[in-house]
Symmetry: C2
Subunit: 482 residues, 2 copies
């Protein structure tokens, strides 16, 4: 527990943990304010503040004259998704571009009124005023960056700030190890191009972020899909098997923290095993940590990179989801491929522009950044519980989902035989955007899955859209399971 | 002639033309101020202003009590470089990365006091105040771009401004045809990846910009080097021959306006032939117009793209050299490959950030942009003549060079047998940076060439460095040609 936190937050954190771990179950009454005061030796106002905090987060609800109860909707009555079979699929992604283009074109041609397809929070969730002030300062003090190229790896202040912050995730990069990129997208391109050649095979998660599949296809890389557990992330067993049986795997890409679309977080022991396995087999491990800082708990999730002893892990991350969706800043720490990665970044787009980097460095060093992250996590958690509760209420039997402990995404398994592409098309006609499961894999395995997001927030309109969506799913499902 | 120009500028323009065309020769006396007044029906102050303008540009010199004379140093007493042999070299650029890394590392390890290696003007030559003000306005009016992704192809205002300006170069793109990129570097990557696959062959100029060779190597592309004439640019004959005899050429890349390093400008007739040839042979033509707006004359040079009727030309350009070296903005108009190019840009780095684009759009629409370009051209022309004059004076016999009509580069042929890499190393020890010819080709043909630049300006220190450089060249040359 962070001793610099106010007392009420520490108290809230304690009970939050209890609720999320299941020690306090939905519907259960929490200790009364009086009990809290006595047991924890805190003042009335501290005890009350802690309860209100948990109420705001949607974890507790106050019942008149009875005290605080764990909200029943927190854990929706959704059965958890099934663990995946340990099947490995080799596939060259010749069709992903086409499917994604189709998806993008359909969306663009539609009048989307409720957008459940975003992989980012609503813009009002980001600290615009702070960013604007920081940019104003950069403009006063460092405007010369507009007419002068920044150093190849990026602005020294931003690299230093990112390196410092990485310590909390268990990494120990120096500023010199950091390469600033145009988003995590460019970092992934650089990382893949650093260690692969066209025609090579790369092991990825199944399902995985469709942007990654697009990058693979555009680079002429083949992909091998490794199953992901909703609970523990990429299956290290399946990967081990693949590395032993499939020739020519040149890299592994994993999203260990708050996977897109599953939301899974690899337990530390699994992370350590994954790093050790790739190391032992001499296969570079590319880590995409775009969402790591959006975990519900303020205690940072460890990066795979923090177990890396030999420089075999190439860490990639983004400021898109956490701080500034419009600023196109990402970064990487490429381990022992640092020199080649820096050179490839240079041949792809030269150094990022300096001014925006100066501004963001400023914000990263300020306390407001942690406050922002804390508030963003609360918002996402609250809206995510509501989203999950609505799905539980409105979707037909046979629907399954696992509510992640962070970020904004919900990966929903629809009743068997329900085509998420059809759901996507029908929903779009009703002004609702979702992301069909077919985009997240080249196998047909996720046809009856879809990703929905609480990034744009939760409101009666969203509630209504989810009711509608539930009806669309029911209609698209082969038989109503009674 | 632009009738919105002040009268004295129009008058200066007239005589500038006469000098540059050779109608007035070095050392020749120009008509007296009194004659100018009479012949052109202008006031004394207008006539004087015109002469002073040309004096500032380094074209005229005032001799006490005798009037104005065409400067003798304007056309240095350098023999022009030889026209290239019509040889075509197929080569895979397996060594370019290594050579460039070596070059970069050596430079970085040295204390460079006089930098003659830049391909951009000094930062004080760019309109920092205007850019800063425009950024301030964008920050007040469009700060939301910091927390919102820009549309895939870029900020609408910037695309519209670039499309409008492109008209002056004979192109007629709509804003929808424009894709904003992270510099011309990213545009070239996108263009090449749009129409080639690893292993393919691309025809490029010889010599050519080493960044292009690096991109080719990083994409696994083979290059075929086509000779470039210092007078007329890429040899269309040689290209024609290559297209007939060499199988599998999938694209042609040309820098028709102010070639790097040669400075050549293709005459319009050659441009038209090049476009027609590529069209007829069904080979995509990638045009890199990074320097086109830096021609001495204010009349814009036409782009190859302006002859394109079938969408076979992919136009790429940069704002790096002309407006804002630190802002990493470039753009492309990809003809009939537009959709694939937009998709590849998206998979490489998503849309550029919106705020910087808004600011630059503002500057492009303002009159100050044309004034800035005009001033930049004058500065570069003046410094270029001085640079060439110093080379003529200080370099040993056997040195050849052609003084280009724009931009900041001078491509110098050293006496046969002189190794420019040795010159580079020796000069670096003396604190002087140049760019050795070996970087600009994979053939050994340019070992005894080097590129020097007046981008950082001209001063007594530069003069002294050129004297020193001449001595180094003389020492590195096999025998003193008496
Ligand atoms: C897992 C993952 N990686 C990378 C990205 C792209 O990051 P950026 O916007 O920084 O390029 C996303 C965006 O959706 C993502 O979900
Ligand atoms: C011919 C040419 N093209 C492209 C570039 C790179 O342009 P940018 O800085 O916009 O990426 C350069 C820079 O030196 C160049 O000389």
């Amino acid at each position: 527990m962070d001793s610099t936190q106010p007392l009420y937050q520490r108290l809230a954190s304690h009970y939050r943990h209890a609720i999320l771990q299941g020690a306090l179950t939905p519907g259960e009454r929490v200790p009364s304010v009086r009990t809290l005061m006595r047991v924890h030796r805190v003042s009335l106002s501290t005890a009350l503040q802690a309860c209100r905090e948990l109420e705001t987060e949607g974890l507790l609800e106050a019942r008149p004259r009875s005290g605080y109860f764990v909200r029943t909707a927190v854990r929706p009555a959704l059965p958890p998704p099934r663990e995946p079979d340990c099947v490995i699929d080799a596939a060259q992604y010749v069709g992903v571009h086409h499917r994604i283009s189709e998806y993008v074109a359909r969306r663009a041609a539609s009048d989307v009124r409720v957008d459940l397809s975003v992989a980012v929070a609503a813009s009002h969730c980001y600290p615009l005023d702070e960013l604007r002030r920081a940019m104003g300062r950069a403009l006063r003090n460092e405007a010369q960056w507009m007419v002068r190229g920044a150093p190849g790896q990026g602005h020294p202040a931003l690299r230093a700030a990112l390196a410092r912050r990485a310590y909390s995730q268990g990494m120990t990069p120096s500023a010199d190890d950091v390469i600033i990129t145009h988003g995590c997208t460019e970092a992934l391109n650089v990382a893949l191009r650093t260690v692969t050649s066209p025609g090579d095979t790369v092991a990825v998660e199944s399902p995985t972020y469709f942007g990654l599949l697009q990058i693979l296809e555009s680079l002429g890389l083949r992909a091998l899909e490794i199953p992901v557990s909703p609970q523990t992330g990429m299956s290290v067993e399946a990967l081990d098997l693949a590395l032993q049986t499939q020739p020519g795997i040149r890299a592994v890409v994993a999203v260990p923290n708050l996977h897109n679309p599953l939301g899974s977080i690899m337990p530390d022991a699994e992370k350590a095993r994954l790093v050790a396995l790739c190391e032992a087999r001499g296969v570079p491990l590319i880590e995409d940590d775009s969402y790591g800082l959006l975990a519900d708990d303020d205690v940072p999730l460890r990066a795979l990179k923090s177990w890396d002893r030999s420089g075999n892990v190439m860490y990639c991350a983004s400021l898109h989801k956490t701080l500034a969706p419009g600023m196109r800043l990402g970064w990487m720490s490429a381990g022992r491929w640092h020199r080649r990665a820096a050179m490839l970044k240079f041949t792809m787009s030269r150094a990022n522009e300096g001014l925006a980097q100066a501004a963001v460095a400023d914000v990263l060093e300020a306390r407001v950044y942690d406050r922002h992250l804390h508030a963003l996590r609360l918002t996402l958690r609250r809206d995510r519980s509501r989203l999950a509760a609505a799905v539980a209420q409105h979707f037909p039997p046979g629907t399954r989902a696992c509510v992640p402990s962070g970020s904004m995404l919900l990966w929903v398994e629809l009743p068997a035989g329900c085509s998420s592409w059809r759901v996507f098309e029908t929903a779009l006609r009703a002004g609702i955007a979702i992301t069909p499961g077919t985009l997240f894999s080249n196998t047909g395995r996720f046809e009856h899955y879809m990703r929905i997001s609480c990034g744009e927030g939760y409101s009666p309109r969203v509630e209504e859209a989810l009711r509608r969506l539930g009806a669309i799913v029911a209609e698209a499902s082969p038989r109503a399971t009674a």
